[in-house]
């Protein structure tokens, strides 16, 4: 029977020390998930603009498709990205498997439907006459598009944060395509899974605390931004 208090104390000591491995893992986590969320956002916003701008017959079908894509299990995305980047896969030549690149790709693919869905909702929350108001004030086509994005900025930021939170906590898929290589592709979730299996609890708990704190911080930010978006 292990002593829980002792392990927690050791974990806290580990956090207090500037343990390079621990903070390296945290940094990789934030970098990979941050890049994935950014990549997804870069694709999601224009997609959402395309989906939400006009009324067309297939609009409901497109939004329905987006919603169903949100239900695709992460592990399936992991499998697809694995096949894509594996040696004999179509993009095997890029040698991205077991690299942060593969992790960013998989996480971005996971976040994309969720983010696009939230971005569509964000843009639909912009008053319908806002675009016409910009037009009559002399804005050109691109300026109106940009202005519309700006109108939705708080709700769009909330979408970004929600996507980031989703991928930051992803484990299995990240392990599949990243490989959990120490110092390279080891992130908080995969490290916790590994250390727990190894019985190496203090590092696991230390990382767990960081992950929890980041998750809480992100959620607080999300609430704050959603509060502003609702104004």
């Amino acid at each position: 029977m292990f002593n829980l208090w002792q392990i927690v104390r050791q974990a806290l000591e580990l956090l207090a020390s500037s343990d390079p491995e621990l903070w390296g893992i945290v940094a990789t986590s934030l970098r990979v998930s941050g890049a994935a969320a950014l990549l997804a956002a870069v694709l999601a916003v224009p997609l959402a603009l395309l989906v939400s701008r006009r009324e067309y017959r297939a609009k409901r079908a497109v939004i329905g498709l987006l919603n169903s894509l949100m239900a695709v299990p992460a592990v399936v995305i992991g499998l697809l990205v694995y096949l894509l980047f594996s040696r004999s896969g179509p993009l095997g030549i890029w040698r991205l498997l077991y690299s942060p690149g593969a992790m960013v790709t998989a996480q971005a693919a996971l976040a994309l439907p969720l983010m696009t869905g939230l971005c569509v909702a964000a843009l639909q929350g912009v008053p319908p006459l806002a675009a016409e108001t910009m037009l009559t004030l002399g804005a050109g086509r691109l300026q109106v598009l940009w202005g519309t994005v700006r109108e939705a900025r708080f709700a769009l930021t909330a979408a970004f944060i929600a996507g980031f939170a989703r991928v930051l906590g992803e484990t299995g898929m990240t392990m599949m395509v990243g490989g959990n290589i120490r110092g390279e592709t080891r992130v908080m979730t995969t490290a916790i899974a590994l250390e727990t299996m190894k019985g190496n609890f203090e590092l696991g708990i230390a990382l767990g605390i960081v992950l929890l704190l980041v998750a809480v911080a992100v959620n607080v930010a999300l609430q704050a931004v959603q509060g502003r978006a609702g104004q």
Partner: protein
């Protein structure tokens, strides 16, 4: 910028909204687009402002027809010489300064110059110190004034205002009407959609009447309103305080008699005439007022109804007289049915014309 439209037609979901509308904006001035709600005023303005393509007909600027979908660059350049203010106006998310500076920003005006012009225009519309206010947290009157500032700062040649004073407090309404007249004097073409004929009479040089998508009347405002085309007044708003009576001369004073009431008017006419009085020109007073107003009719409070932020109080002064007062006045005075009050108004507030 001269605008001419011909054969304009527009349908929404199969329902015709505009039918064969032809009109011209020649010289500077205030063009009133009057008509009941749902007659197509907003749609017509959006078509003229190149925001909505018509299903039929064309809009020509300086003699050349423009199609929004085909001549995109030209449409965009022309839009930059016009402005349209919706009702209620939509504020962009951000401060008042952001909103008023938006049009300058998209034209590439620098920040210093932008700030200066924004401050100047806000001052002209009595919005000093509003720069940093959240534009989405303004009263209706302030919102409409900011929208006007946002358009005026661009110095457009043509400006379209959709019911600019609907549901506004009288002070904001008066400020906006004054700004409209001022723009016309400064050589702009100002198109104002309104279903308030009193307002049209106050500010318009030219009047178009839109009825169920058709332009049924067009002409100089004074002429159309006063050529005795009683129908215009009866059919649309302004049914209140419309009297058929007789004017007599009493030592140079012209007295208009109707039912048991008599009041002074300013006119050269004598005999059978029609008179109208804007309900918002009437002051209700509990005591007789010592003022320059020539008319002071005692009466009793008959009934009241609220309409667009205003209270319409019907007084029995020998003839039913409707006075429009603000909710604040109504609450403060605490008028009761049957109470004796005085209806005070200037002789010059009464419009008189002869039915033909």
């Amino acid at each position: 910028m001269m605008i001419a439209a011909g054969g304009l037609a527009k349908r929404f979901a199969g329902t015709p909204v505009l039918r064969d509308v032809a009109l011209e904006l020649r010289g500077p001035g205030v063009y009133a687009l009057a008509g009941p709600n749902g007659s197509g005023k907003t749609t017509l303005m959006r078509v003229l402002a190149l925001l909505l393509p018509p299903d039929g007909g064309e809009v020509a600027f300086e003699g050349t027809a423009v199609r929004i979908d085909r001549d995109k660059a030209r449409a965009q350049a022309l839009r930059r010489r016009m402005a349209l203010i919706h009702n209620p106006a939509v504020m962009l998310s951000g401060t008042v300064a952001y909103n008023v500076g938006y049009g300058l920003g998209v034209r590439g005006v620098g920040n210093a110059e932008k700030g200066r012009r924004v401050r100047e225009i806000l001052g002209r519309l009595e919005l000093d110190g509003f720069e940093r206010r959240n534009a989405r947290r303004l009263s209706a009157g302030e919102t409409q004034r900011v929208a006007l500032a946002r358009a005026m700062v661009l110095d457009p040649e043509v400006i379209f205002l959709d019911e600019p004073t609907a549901n506004l407090d009288p002070a904001s309404a008066r400020l906006i009407e004054a700004a409209v007249r001022e723009m016309a004097r400064a050589g702009k073409r100002v198109v104002v959609a309104s279903h308030n004929l009193w307002q049209v009479e106050r500010i318009a040089d030219w009047l178009w009447f839109l009825d169920d998508g058709r332009l049924t009347l067009s002409g100089p405002a004074a002429e159309v309103l006063h050529r005795g085309d009683h129908k215009v007044w009866r059919e649309f708003l302004g049914r209140d305080n419309l009297f058929n009576g007789e004017i007599t001369d009493s030592d140079g004073c012209k007295l208009f008699a109707i039912g048991g009431a008599k009041f002074e008017v300013v006119t050269d006419l004598i005999g059978k005439t029609t008179a109208s009085l804007d309900p918002s020109e009437i002051i209700i007073s509990r005591e007789p007022l010592r003022s320059s107003a020539r008319n002071q009719l005692p009466g009793t409070v008959e009934s009241h109804s609220s309409e667009g932020g205003l209270y319409k109080v019907t007084l029995d002064c020998g003839v039913p007289l409707v006075a429009a007062i603000t909710k604040a006045s109504w609450d403060e005075m605490g008028l009761k049915q049957g109470e004796t009050v005085y209806a005070v108004f200037k002789a010059s507030a009464v419009r008189v014309w002869r039915e033909e």
